[in-house]
């Protein structure tokens, strides 16, 4: 899985927002706000490929959380990003 080309994270008015900035994303009409941990993961994965396991590892590096919870959160996040259309 990876973040689709053209989607970038911006911090505006104190909020982390994903915006579709490529010409391929001109019809993307959703406002995607990320919380702190999701924004951290979005930045960390950049343009690279990732799996729920990769994200869980990143969460364990930054937050005090057990592996099972981190993996569950990471799986949910991957599913959400795919459903919203910012990851493929």
């Amino acid at each position: 899985m990876r973040i689709k080309e053209g989607f970038v994270l911006r911090t505006i008015c104190g909020q982390h927002v994903v915006s579709g900035e490529g010409t391929a994303n001109v019809n993307f009409s959703k406002l995607v706000s990320l919380n702190e941990s999701a924004a951290y993961l979005f930045q960390k994965v950049g343009n690279g490929a990732f799996t729920p396991e990769t994200l869980a590892d990143l969460l364990l590096e930054e937050y005090e959380v057990d592996r099972e919870t981190a993996l569950k959160d990471a799986e949910n996040l991957c599913a959400q990003w795919k459903e919203i259309g910012i990851a493929e």
């Binding site: 008015c13 104190g14 019809n27 406002l31």
Partner: protein, 378 residues
């Protein structure tokens, strides 16, 4: 009592709105004092939306210290959503324009208004876009239609008397204009038609980069007058949003060095618009924070006139959207009497204290045009 409180809230929102708009326009940290009393974010969004300047205001919010932002971040979602959508829409329109001009190769045509003026904004993606406007001479009008209409996904109703043809290319609306008439006064429109002829006298046009390609636009001397007249036409005839005012102010402040002051003054005086121009330069300074030295032919602000101008713009909203126009089901004559009253009499009475001579002049001009349209059954 309730009314007083409403007015105080409204004035507070107005002050916050202008503090944020000025911040967005001039890349400055917004004034903090208006936010000390708390912010009605919904009212602020509504005002920015009505005036079609949400992205500029959002830029201002982005510069506010955290303590002035709402405790519930989702209250800013409408601002952020509009900011994102505006940027995307601008990219869509800008990407479409080079192909449009390529199709019209060989026909003298320039890009006007929206996407051309957006390039002068602090960030071109912050201007809320509408359609794509093309300007040419009446003699090129049919040729442009012949090229574009077969490619359009929808052809809109033509307004032949003002050389205006709209069309859609999926979600993108394009308007071809063969005239810059205002329907405010025949004399004014005749002089504007002569200016348009001069503009297309065979000299090469300046270009702005849109969608990565150089696109022809009118020269700065013409555009300073045209953008002003376009704004004025809407101001005078039913409503204008601050976006159009910002378009004019931004254009003349960015291009001040390209605008010849003697030519501008002569043209405005000839069109009978010099006094109005000067009053609006005062409003630009007083409400939008534009330094006088950035404005050609700037005059001192007049607090009373400026307040009246803002009250009128606030009441009308962009293109008069705040004014009731749902009278389509009424009989023809009732509608005509109502629109005559509102557009020709009531609005001009409101303009009278600020522009007394011009109100009389344009009242007579609109009256003449109105009678002709009535006679034509339009």
């Amino acid at each position: 009592m309730e009314g007083n409180r409403d007015r105080r809230v409204s004035q507070g929102t107005d002050r916050q709105f202008f503090a944020l708009l000025r911040s967005g326009l001039w890349n400055e940290v917004p004034e903090r004092a208006p936010f000390a009393v708390g912010t009605d974010w919904e009212a602020l969004y509504r005002l920015a939306f009505e005036q079609t300047v949400v992205p500029l205001v959002t830029d201002g919010i982005n510069r506010l210290p955290g303590e002035f932002l709402p405790a519930e971040p989702e209250r800013l979602d409408p601002f952020l959503g509009d900011l994102m959508m505006t940027a995307q829409r601008n990219r869509l329109l800008d990407g479409f324009i080079p192909g449009l001009f390529s199709a019209l190769q060989g026909i003298p045509v320039v890009l006007i208004k929206g996407q051309a003026l957006a390039q002068d904004y602090p960030d071109p993606e912050r201007r809320q876009p509408g359609d794509i406007d093309l300007l040419l001479l009446p003699s090129s009008y049919e040729a442009a239609k012949d090229v574009l209409l077969p490619k359009a996904t929808k052809v809109l109703e033509e307004e032949r008397e003002i050389w205006h043809q709209g069309m859609r290319f999926r979600s993108i609306e394009v308007e071809v204009h063969g005239s810059i008439g205002t329907l405010m006064s025949r004399k004014l429109d005749r002089k504007l038609a002569a200016l348009l002829e001069q503009q297309f006298d065979g000299r090469p046009f300046p270009q702005v980069t849109v969608g990565g390609v150089g696109i022809p636009v009118p020269d700065a001397d013409f555009n300073a007058v045209y953008v002003f007249v376009h704004f004025l036409h809407h101001y005078w005839s039913g409503g204008v949003g601050l976006r159009q005012f910002v378009d004019w102010m931004t254009f003349v402040s960015v291009h001040k060095r390209d605008i010849h002051p003697v030519i501008l003054e002569k043209r405005l005086a000839d069109l009978g618009l010099l006094r109005i121009w000067k009053v609006f330069t005062g409003f630009a300074q007083e409400y939008l924070g534009c330094p006088a030295e950035k404005l050609p032919l700037a005059a001192e602000p007049d607090a009373g006139k400026d307040a009246r101008i803002w009250r009128y713009i606030r009441r009308c909203g962009n293109f008069g959207k705040n004014v009731d126009r749902t009278r389509k089901k009424e009989p023809f004559l009732v509608r005509k009497v109502h629109s005559f009253w509102r557009l020709v009499v009531a609005d001009r009475l409101r303009h009278f204290p600020v522009f007394p001579q011009e109100s009389i002049r344009f009242f007579l001009g609109a009256f003449g045009y109105g009678l002709q349209r009535l006679a034509n059954g339009e």
